[in-house]
């Protein structure tokens, strides 16, 4: 009799565990639908023909899905040009931030010189200054140089990032110093060391840095809004926000544009997230 009672308790326990598992999945699906709703909605809008907008039966799902919005948006504005500009700006910013961050981090971590700590502190302290607190002076400065309406003005001020320097220095904290010394004994020059040994070993950090830099450059808004006023150098974010979205026709086109503009950063994000997983240094030092 005692054994039977125990069995019932066991069954309850097993049912409870099963419920927990399925409950988790169902909760996740519900939460996902809630959290992702704006994106789902944007996607559904982007494949709606304008006429569907006023159809009470097509509030959420389109009745006659179409891809024509994605091509039509290129006709109402030079979206291709915007994307090209943004790609150029984002790639240049990303690459130069990676290089400048690791060169600086190398100097801060491996080279001994006077003022090392002070200078690093100074660099780090700039993270405390909100961009908006200096943007007026930055803007007046670059416009006095006649830099406005160029791609240069979008790139040059952003080729150094204090945050990425911080990230690179952090990632070097755990970098085995003996590898640097070993390379030195092997006759490796410092610059060679940075590019052939240090950076390949920090691929995960570089990956996450690249993702961050690219996304924030891609999504940059206030600075290009102030410094560019010309379709030839406009980035996608500015271009989209300038689109007129008064009537239903232009509304779906704009949303299609928004969806297009999100694809590169989302793609980079999804790919980058995977590559960030594992550190490469395991196995370098003992076992």
């Amino acid at each position: 009799m005692k054994a039977k009672a125990l069995n019932a308790a066991e069954l309850k326990y097993i049912r409870h565990e099963k419920m927990k598992k399925w409950g988790g999945i169902i909760l996740n699906i519900a939460w996902w639908a809630f959290l992702m709703f704006p994106l789902i909605y944007a996607f559904l809008m982007s494949v709606k023909p304008p006429a569907d907008l006023y159809d009470p039966n097509a509030i959420l799902f389109p009745k006659n899905p179409t891809l024509s919005n994605f091509t039509d948006v290129f006709k109402v504005a030079p979206v291709g040009r915007y994307i090209l500009n943004t790609v150029l700006v984002a790639v240049l910013i990303t690459l130069s931030q990676i290089v400048t961050s690791f060169l600086s981090a190398f100097a801060f971590r491996f080279l001994k010189f006077k003022g090392n700590k002070f200078l690093y502190g100074l660099v780090i302290s700039t993270m405390m200054v909100p961009g908006e607190a200096v943007i007026i002076s930055q803007f007046l400065m670059v416009s006095s140089w006649g830099w406005t309406d160029t791609l240069m003005v979008l790139v040059i001020p952003h080729i150094v990032s204090a945050f990425n320097i911080f990230l690179a220095v952090q990632s070097l904290e755990n970098f085995p110093y003996e590898i640097y010394e070993s390379a030195k004994v092997d006759g490796c020059s410092d610059l060679n060391f940075v590019f052939t040994i240090m950076m390949p070993l920090l691929k995960p950090t570089i990956g996450s840095m690249a993702v961050r830099s690219f996304i924030s450059a891609w999504n940059m808004y206030m600075w290009p809004l102030l410094t560019t006023n010309n379709d030839n150098v406009r980035t996608i974010q500015i271009g989209l926000s300038m689109l007129n979205a008064e009537d239903s026709q232009s509304m779906v086109l704009m949303i299609a544009g928004v969806v297009i503009s999100m694809i590169p950063s989302l793609l980079i994000f999804v790919i980058g997230q995977k590559s960030m997983v594992k550190g490469l240094t395991s196995g370098a030092v003992k076992g």
């Binding site: 598992k21 988790g24 999945i25 996740n28 939460w31 996902w32 959290l35 992702m36 704006p38 994106l39 909605y41 944007a42 006023y54 509030i59 130069s96 400048t100 060169l103 600086s104 100097a107 080279l111 010189f113 200078l119 700039t126 405390m128 200054v129 909100p130 908006e132 607190a133 200096v134 943007i135 007026i136 002076s137 930055q138 803007f139 007046l140 400065m141 040059i156 001020p157 080729i159 150094v160 204090a162 999504n219 808004y221 206030m222 102030l226 974010q237 989209l240 926000s241 979205a245 509304m251 949303i255 928004v258 503009s261 999100m262 950063s265 989302l266 980079i268 994000f269 999804v270 997230q273």
Partner: protein
């Protein structure tokens, strides 16, 4: 061996060796000096001047801009709006990120999909999201009114407009918050939960006595970064409300933008920038002070 025949050879660093670190740091020093340090000090100096429409400093007025600022009701409105805005952003953003993290704490089929999704707001531009919200809130065709059966323009309602831009900002922050919370959760070792369940703690007790205390430092960090981010929100406000209706969403950053680039009052806006900097500085210091005190108690 006689001591006298030993030369003391000083370590010598060649000119090149001495110069080397500076070579590596050159881009950093040049760019940060030109685009951070100089503008920062220029902002402070400009804030003490009356400027013309091109930002040229005309005459020194000392704290004139600051006095004007601190006595204007518009500025205090901005401060109050910013404060409410930040509060909603932090509350909603933390809840969104934390719930997502809890839901993906344990492994289940499809976890990778959900966790990537919950983090995606990190990759989304404020502009894109604001444009989507604009359509969602469109009085005639937007989904929100249709669901609620309402007809008005919510963005024209001063009370709702601020809540809407704040929720949008919280959503944008939620991806980052999710990553921080879930790495915080992952760092709690399974053995702690196992030990607790052997000790007889149920799910809720485990959450209260293990998860919550272990996440305290993460939560602190998330709140600080969210506050700083929230204070700097601009794109969504510029697109959705332009500070309106009235001045209902005129947060400090937007007010700076308006004064500088729409009213061309660069000196005045510089003074406001300096105040924004001081507010963020004070908040950061305050938060770290609170944490260091809290840390000692533990």
């Amino acid at each position: 061996m006689e001591k006298s025949d030993i030369k003391i050879i000083e370590e010598e660093k060649s000119f090149k060796q001495k110069l080397q670190p500076w070579g590596y740091l050159l881009p950093t020093i040049v760019i940060l000096t030109i685009f951070m340090f100089i503008p920062f000090f220029q902002t402070i100096i400009r804030s003490l001047f009356f400027t013309d429409n091109f930002g040229k400093m005309q005459n020194f007025i000392g704290f004139g801009n600051y006095i004007e600022l601190l006595t204007s009701s518009s500025f205090w409105n901005s401060v109050w709006v910013s404060f409410r805005f930040v509060l909603i952003v932090v509350l909603v953003g933390v809840v969104l990120g934390f719930v997502s993290a809890l839901l993906t704490q344990k492994a289940f089929p499809g976890l990778a999909f959900f966790s990537t999704s919950y983090a995606t707001p990190m990759a989304i531009a404020s502009v894109g999201m604001a444009l989507i919200f604009q359509v969602m809130l469109n009085p005639s065709v937007g989904i929100i009114n249709k669901i609620l059966g309402a007809h008005g323009n919510m963005l024209a309602d001063p009370g709702k407009a601020l809540i809407i831009v704040a929720i949008l900002t919280a959503w944008l922050n939620s991806g980052m918050n999710y990553l921080y919370f879930s790495s915080g959760l992952a760092s709690i070792s399974d053995s702690q939960y196992e030990a607790a369940s052997i000790d007889g703690a149920n799910g809720f007790q485990q959450f209260m006595y293990i998860t919550v205390p272990a996440l305290r430092p993460t939560t602190f960090f998330v709140i600080v970064t969210n506050i700083i981010n929230a204070f700097q929100s601009f794109g969504q406000i510029n697109i959705l409300t332009k500070g309106g209706p009235g001045e209902a969403t005129n947060v400090i950053v937007f007010d700076i933008y308006r004064e500088a680039f729409m009213n061309y009052r660069y000196g005045f806006a510089s003074a406001e920038s300096v105040i924004l900097f001081l507010i963020i500085l004070a908040l950061t210091i305050l938060m770290f002070y609170i944490r260091s005190k809290g840390g000692k108690v533990q």
